[in-house]
Amino acid sequence: MKAPLSWLKDYVDIDVTPEVLQEKLFSCGFEVEELLYAGAEIDRCVVGKIERIVPHPDSDHLQICTLNCGSFGEAIQIVTGAHNIKEGDLVPVALDGSSLHGGVKIKKGKLRGVESCGMLCSGEELGITDDWYDGAEVNGILILRGDIPVGTDIKKVVGLDDYIFDIAVTSNRPDCQSIYGIAREVAAVLKKPLAALDLTYTAGEETTSGSVRVSVEAPDLCPRYIAHRVTGLKGGKSPQWMRRRLALCGLRGIGNIVDITNFVLLELGQPMHAFDLSKVQGGQIVVRRAAKGETITTLDEKEFSLTRENLVICDAEKPVALAGVMGGLNSGIGEDTAEVLFESAKFERANIRRTSRALGQKSDSSARFEKGVDAYTTGIAINRALHLVCELGCGTVAADRWDIVAPAAQARPVSVKTRFSAINGLLGIDIPKEEIKDILTRLYFSVSTRGDELTATAPAFREDIEGFPDLAEEVIRMHGYDSIEGTFLARASVTGGGLNAAQRAEERAKAVLRGQGYCEAVTYSFISPKDYELLRLHGEAERAIRIKNPIGEDMSLMRTTLAPSMLAALVRNIRRGNEGARLFELANIYLAHELPLASLPEERRTLCFGLYGEGEDFFSAKGALEALAASFGVRFGYAPAQRPFLHPGKTAEVTLGGAVVGYLGELAPDLAEELSVEARVYLGELDYAALAAAADLTVHCSPLPKFPEVRRDLAIVVGEDVSCAAAEAVIAESCKYVTCVRLFDVYRGEQVGVGKKSMAFSLTFTPRDKAVSPEDADGYVKRILKALHEKLGADLR
């Protein structure tokens, strides 16, 4: 919201600097995002009088002028190429060392051998248009009018000596989306009176009702509709003061009637529209929902096909405006328009928002309606516009008007009945009753009190006030938030706190992996359909939850596996030349129970890890899982398996209690090639929720064994297809004293024969109630060997 200082000063006697006002607005909830000085670009440019013009001795087109710039020099010589000047003219003079629009710097210099101590300026060089100063757009030097003292700063003359406050207005305060709304706050915060708007006008003999009949068929979407006829239009420009105000706010002057509607929009925040009455057929204005398929072409010549959700303003035959968004091309005013119907209406903001979104059509008007317009201001605005018509003398105001108010929108002032103690109780400080009353009064509430009781009636333009917390906010923002002193829940209950057991277990899992050298990664929850294709997970993308409005297709699916994100992170590290990486991520995957969703999907906590680098192999990757298993008190099973993106010979399925809970493997060589990755990359993914469910995190301390453990090494020769796990299982079940089986060597070669391998295990026997003698241990080994032979065809090596 842009508010020029000069405009605010129309309503409030601002006696502080713009910087102080900026601070004050900030403290009461209106952050000035930018404080702009309109003439920031222009420096050392003053009014000068051309005393003398002589031709340049060495040029046909140049002239030598002598300028009187008062205290800046009474005879400044400047060479110019312009010819729209004469002796006695007042012109803008850019002195030596001055700056102009666009960062142009002017220095003393010589033109064809004649010294020139500055430059005479055009309007363009000052960065202004006719809206700022009539004549600014002529081709040549800007000739100033009137009796201006020489040496006056040009910024004061052309309207550039002004500040513009660009204010962030929060969405609960649509009443402040206007100059007058901001002025109300400025008056309140500076404790100054607010000048009333002049809303008076003189009406002629013509009537509105005699020319046009207005009806509102959709009062739910149009709570108030005011239409007022103005006849005998005299087209033309609006006055300089009005166009300058529009220009300060970034709008161009169009013509007096349009300028009046724009002026009122800026001043009061009420979008207005003017229909050319000669183009309104059948003397009728109907506010209704569009018929399905009905079309309208808006002023900017775009055609839209409408639905029942769109509100239109129609004449007897057709839509003439897309309500609140833009007028129709068929009813717009032009230079020859003789009479208009001014519209000032409140349209339901949600409907305008939906229409604007659905059609992709935006305007200053729709943006304003979306923020919310109050029905009170709708009435003020039409009077203000009619006042301006009279002030500008550009038409005759009709004697009556249509003002149709939906019963639901009948203005009923919102009264909040509360207690001073409730307001202070919420704030936690004690603001005196008198001050509370004073602040609310300054903010245009009408306040009555009785002891601790307080009744505050909100001004008609404040539709955001509902209860006493709103009053508390009004009071504290004016009283000052710096008076809020921190207290530490002095009167609240004491509660426990911190992580619960499940949350602590997650922290434990992360700590285990960090201990194993893994860095924690965080990747986006959404992935691309292409990610599934890359991992050869064909068809999987169809099971993923799709975002309706993704940033791009590559971030359109809620992932059902963390693997693509992990792989991408590893590949990025490889491509950046990092020698090795161990990464993990503990995050959700999103599993729909049905698509489209009819219930919240399962968000399953999943652990993914990936690694590459010197010394890394399948078994170092497996170490991550075993470290977790050790900490969580579970045993994972591993079985050869296939995953479409992993090496067919180096992939394991991870099981827990018989159920598959994850996988681990080396990236498939063809996929690595496709990604131009030379390093061997390992990936694992684990259903963390399943791990957490099976975890035994309570510590049960056992006494130390009374008798020493006995160790034996055992080397066996078996067929290639006998797995380590199979041998371990046979060993464990054939002797109850075995507490640890550890494979320490695998040998293949002539000595053991083709298709065979030797596996060497280190066995630990832990005695129970009596010591294990060397003879006992030998006996156990014998028994184990027998079992290995019978079940796996193993022989002692």
Binding site: F26, S27, G29, E31, T170, S171, P174, R349, R354, E370, L426, L427, G428, E466, P469, D470, A472, E473, I484, G486, T487, F488, L489, A492, S493, T495, G497, G498, L499, N500, Q503, E507, K510, R514, Q516, G517, C519, E520, V522, T523, Y524, S525, F526, I547, K548, I551, M558, R572, N573, R576, R582, L583, A587, N588, Y590, P596, L597, L600, P601, E603
Partner: protein, 340 residues
């Protein structure tokens, strides 16, 4: 006898100096003091002496034995020291050579911030609740006093899934789920991933928030300030101050933006705080009465406050991270800096 003893003394005296190791010394010792050694032989030869000479001779032998034993003992000490000194000399190493160890990994900066917040607020009695990331419109908006088509929805560019389902745009949705199931006193943190359709150097389409909620009797705006003061001091420095200024959120009334005094310049104004001395870190306010009502909590009995902290924002301020995208690239050179 006397001569013999003198000869032995002289021999030991000269030979002992020749020994270079404790083994040689032991052999020499055996030669004189062993069971069959020369001094032992002297003792045995006493039997051949006339009885009247024996006491004196005995004393002489005893003296030489004692002398020899002491001499050997002292030489042994010498040699032991010499050998030790040679050994440690030989085993000397370059202690500046690299160690063997497997370095621990690192926590993600967002996790570090989250853990620190849980620590700070957990100590004040806040539980931790994690709600769903794919949410219903009701929890993300309606129950938070943001009805359909409310302009506040424009403050957040929400990702929609289908029907009433969307990606939560704020962890405030967790407030509602907690208040629906738990009655006051409530003190809860709701951390997690949130999603908004926005992507540049300071915005990520996915980021993390932590919502804090307190609902109880007699909760005031001053309490909110006190809690946030403590957070600021512990998360940054003991001198860090907070500043409240008016703002608007549909689910709180009054609503405030909370700025922290710049930890870098201490409030004097610098590049990090863009010369203002303050850094905007979070939004907060007193829980809107309608929100309490929506959750079946009587707003005439209970009041409360809520605050929402952006974890990436805190991490970026605390660790001096200039670009939010670094947090999601997962480059190990970046991640390893967050040693724990």
């Amino acid at each position: 006898m006397k001569e013999k003893i003198e000869a032995i003394r002289a021999a030991i005296g000269s030979e002992i100096g020749q020994t270079g190791s404790r083994k040689e010394l032991f052999e020499l010792k055996m030669r004189y003091l062993g069971k069959t050694g020369e001094i032992s032989a002297l003792s045995k030869g006493m039997r051949d002496l006339p009885p009247e000479e024996r006491p004196e001779a005995g004393k002489l032998v005893g003296d030489v034995r004692k002398w020899a034993e002491e001499l050997f003992a002292s030489r042994e000490e010498e040699l032991k020291a010499k050998e030790l000194s040679e050994r440690v000399q030989k085993e000397r190493i370059d202690v500046t050579m690299p160690a063997r160890f497997s370095p621990a990994g690192a926590a993600h900066p967002v996790s570090l911030v989250r853990a620190e917040l849980v620590d700070i607020f957990g100590g004040m009695g806040f539980d931790v609740y994690e709600g769903p990331e794919i949410e219903r419109d009701y929890y993300n908006f309606q129950a938070l006093n943001i009805p359909a088509d409310h302009p506040a929805r424009d403050m957040q560019d929400t990702f929609f899934v289908s029907g009433e389902y969307l990606l939560r745009s704020q962890t405030s949705s967790g407030q509602i789920r907690v208040m629906e199931t738990k009655k006051p006193p409530i003190k809860v943190l709701s951390p997690g991933r949130v999603y908004r359709s926005d992507s540049d150097a300071t915005h990520s389409p996915m980021f993390h928030q932590m919502e804090g909620l307190v609902v109880d009797k007699n909760i005031t705006l001053c309490d909110l300030k006190g809690i946030l003061d403590e957070f600021a001091r512990r998360m940054f420095t003991a001198e860090t101050k907070t500043r409240l200024r008016p703002s608007y959120f549909p689910f709180t009334e009054p609503s405030v933006e909370v700025d922290l005094s710049c930890h870098n310049c201490g409030g004097k104004g610098c590049r990090i705080c863009k010369g203002t001395g303050w850094i905007e870190v979070l939004g907060a306010g007193m829980v809107n009465r309608r929100v309490l009502e929506n959750c079946g909590i009587d707003p005439d009995v209970y009041t409360g406050f809520a605050f929402g902290i952006g974890l990436e924002r805190i991490a970026m301020i605390k660790y001096g991270i200039g670009d939010i995208r670094l947090l999601f690239e997962n480059d190990v050179r970046f991640l390893k800096q967050f040693r724990g």
